[in-house]
């Protein structure tokens, strides 16, 4: 039960992040993510039904558990699903969450890797936007360690 609530909460957080990019107005209802606390998440999600971003095994995020340096964090997004229009990489705690958006075509595999800056430890999301406007996601936590000597 807890686990399901956790997942729904992540969906809400992500909806907020997606809306904040300005690219996906369909998620704007969740823009003010602070409005949703853990307790009410299940109810809110019920009200909005399937349009909430949902966790999916068909979407994969790859990245390190610990990044030795936040300036370069290797992240990858991929999906096994058909009918995906965009693949996105987001870092929740970055000043602007969206790192990169890849437009999927028949000519390339739905799998892309790049490297992102992360200001601090954060959840990172891989999101697949389908041609009918749904958002499916996978997430993982990446810890950013303090580097060598300096401050």
């Amino acid at each position: 039960m807890n686990n399901r609530r956790e997942t729904l909460k992540q969906g809400m957080t992500l909806a907020g992040l997606l809306a904040s990019t300005g690219l996906f107005p369909q998620f704007a209802w969740a823009y003010n993510k602070t409005a949703f606390d853990a307790k009410s998440v299940a109810d809110v999600a019920k009200a909005f039904g399937v349009s909430a971003p949902v966790a999916s095994k068909d979407v994969t995020i790859t990245g390190p558990d610990i990044a030795e340096n936040g300036a370069v964090v290797p992240l990858g997004v991929s999906t096994s699903m058909a009918g995906v229009k965009h693949l996105l990489i987001l870092v929740e705690k970055n000043p602007s969450a969206l790192v990169a958006m890849f437009n999927v075509s028949d000519a390339v595999e739905s799998s892309f890797s790049t490297r992102a800056k992360m200001g601090q430890s954060s959840d990172v999301y891989a999101v697949a936007i389908t041609s009918d406007g749904k958002a499916l996601f996978a997430k993982k936590e990446v810890k950013v360690t303090l580097g060598g000597c300096g401050g």
Binding site: P95, F102, A107, V108
Partner: protein, 103 residues
């Protein structure tokens, strides 16, 4: 003018794995210089790729992509000798295109 990219395109099964390194500052617009002035954002906003001149990939990037960016993707149905070209554009209007041969 911007320095050239390094593009490697290698066959792996029926697809070509393309690895690209781009030479770019990717300044976020969030940092300040020594005198406390904000360093303006300067980053790649758009990346496209073609196989033998035909578009295969387009992507939109924000300032959170790391400095000297790395990109990996796989082109379907490529063969050795094909030409992969990659183009980036940045928010100052600078652009650069480089090409590699699939091996």
């Amino acid at each position: 003018m911007a320095d050239p990219m390094r593009i490697r395109a290698q066959m792996s099964g029926a697809n070509a794995t393309v690895r690209v390194l781009m030479s770019h500052e990717m300044e976020t617009g969030q940092r300040k210089d020594a005198s406390g002035k904000v360093i303006p954002a300067w980053h790649i906003t758009e990346v496209t790729a073609t196989l033998n001149g035909k578009p295969v990939l387009s992507a939109e990037w924000g300032p959170a992509v790391s400095k000297n960016p790395f990109l990996q993707f796989n082109v379907k149905g490529a063969k050795a000798g094909d030409k992969v070209a990659v183009t980036w554009k940045d928010n100052k209007g600078d652009t650069r295109t480089d090409e590699a041969t699939v091996s």
